[in-house]
Symmetry: C2
Subunit: 281 residues, 2 copies
């Protein structure tokens, strides 16, 4: 029986700290504010937005929404981004992507100030992760993995961490963050010769393959910590990359899906707004 | 008996290609030019500069040197960098570092245009490596490792690559470049629990530990390809990270030091000047 690393416990601890930080900022006359820029009405975006707004409210962070129609032009969006960059009352920006096809993702990302980029989408933020500088913010999901390890007292130092996936949203940044924490980091991907064998070598396995239930018994061994980053919808139900029922009896600890990384990600996002507000002082 | 992966062979092939490219550019009225910015007279810098100038001459690339005294101010150096950024006749810039202590490395690096940053020192260049975009240029030593593998027909795809070292100059960028070539990449460092065992797992080992002769028999096994990035001076003699005499009889292939990565690095540097010139068209 593995320890189930419940996101709610991490979130409760993070939220308590963040509420205190908000209080301190408000005493100094600063009201941390999240700006949400959304183009169109994609159900995924609306769902994430709802969660973010609720979490912001819980923690005491204000939200300003700037909504554009699905057929808005790139120029309109650039104007919005520029206005938000200049707006001292908005500390961090959540910009939903993918953008509609009439917009160039790279141009839009380049327009956002790294200082307000709370989800690691700008080159400045990603460079901060790669070079370990204080620029911008890492992608929230990558940081959520680290926060879960922190909360449960799992120190990656000297341990073997295997990251399955090499995207810029999760695989590469979480690999760099684990490296910073002195783990020995292996990055696996679709071209890796023997993925199960590689995963079995891990002390800490970050599963970000993006395929429901792919991590099964042959990928794991006793003593491992498994962080499941997967968000896959199967028959309308949310499933992780880990086949939980099979893996849980074998390993030392595992995050559930739902109720694991996802819920922590939302608090990390709001935490970044607060940190961005602090950095303006 | 291992195949000795001689840098001279790689360099000869690279130089031949680069000479052709220079000829084509000259026919279009473009004379690829390397700008060298050097503050002071450090023997290491002078030695590298001499090699770079000679290689540039061999390939047909012009060199413009801008030299500042050891006690130059940061403002003077920034003026030079700005002037070089604006100068259409200089396509790529080699800026020697570390800089004297009166100068802020980060400020100087940020001042250089990534387009002219032929040695991967700007955030733009490093971001290009991390995110696999066409911005700037990777650090020359990291690319030299890849060029050696290319030249000798060693395809990292699906292979296990172990990188020993996690610096921004070599370890992290070469890890990203191997990942791009579809290797399964492990990054080891001083905090790695069992470095020899990790290295023995490699199909391709990039040794960038920065300690003379540290890679000995217990780090290697038959069938491996070893790229020695070490530049260590012991009793005035140049030594790699690999204990060559011990390792060479065991492995499949190994680069020598001297005569391995270093000589290729210089041609990669000049190649970047030519590529920077091509990108201006």
């Amino acid at each position: 029986m593995a320890t189930v690393l419940k996101g709610a416990e991490v979130t409760a601890a993070l939220n308590a700290n963040l509420k205190t930080e908000v209080e301190i900022l408000k005493q100094r006359g600063i009201h941390p504010t999240l700006g949400i820029i959304r183009v169109g009405e994609r159900p995924d975006d609306l769902s994430y937005e709802k969660g973010a707004c609720k979490r912001a409210e819980t923690i005491g962070v204000a939200v300003k929404k700037i909504l554009l129609p699905e057929d808005a032009s790139q120029e309109e969006l650039l104007e919005v981004v520029e206005r938000v960059n200049q707006d001292d009352q908005i500390h961090g920006v959540l910009l939903f992507r993918p953008l509609p096809k009439q917009m160039d993702d790279e141009i839009i990302r380049a327009a956002l100030s790294p200082e307000k980029d709370i989800d690691g989408i700008t080159d400045g933020s990603l460079m901060g992760v790669f070079a370990d500088t204080q620029k911008g913010f890492p992608p929230c999901t990558a940081e959520a993995c680290i926060q879960i390890l922190n909360h449960f007292g799992i120190d990656p130092k000297g341990k073997k961490a295997v990251v399955l996936g090499r995207s810029l949203v999760i695989g590469k940044p979480v690999a760099m963050m684990l490296l910073k924490k002195n783990a020995t980091v292996t990055i696996c991907h679709t071209r890796t010769a023997e993925i199960p064998a590689e995963c079995r070598e891990a002390d800490i396995l970050i599963a970000a393959a993006g395929r429901a239930g792919v991590i099964s018994s042959e990928f794991v061994k006793p003593g491992q910590v498994i962080i499941d980053v997967g968000i896959n919808f199967v028959d309308g139900k949310l499933k992780g990359d880990v086949d939980f029922d099979v893996v849980e009896p074998i390993v030392e600890a595992v995050t559930p899906v739902p109720g694991g990384v996802g819920t922590v990600t939302t608090s990390v996002l709001i935490g970044h707004v607060i940190e961005a507000a602090k950095r303006t002082i």
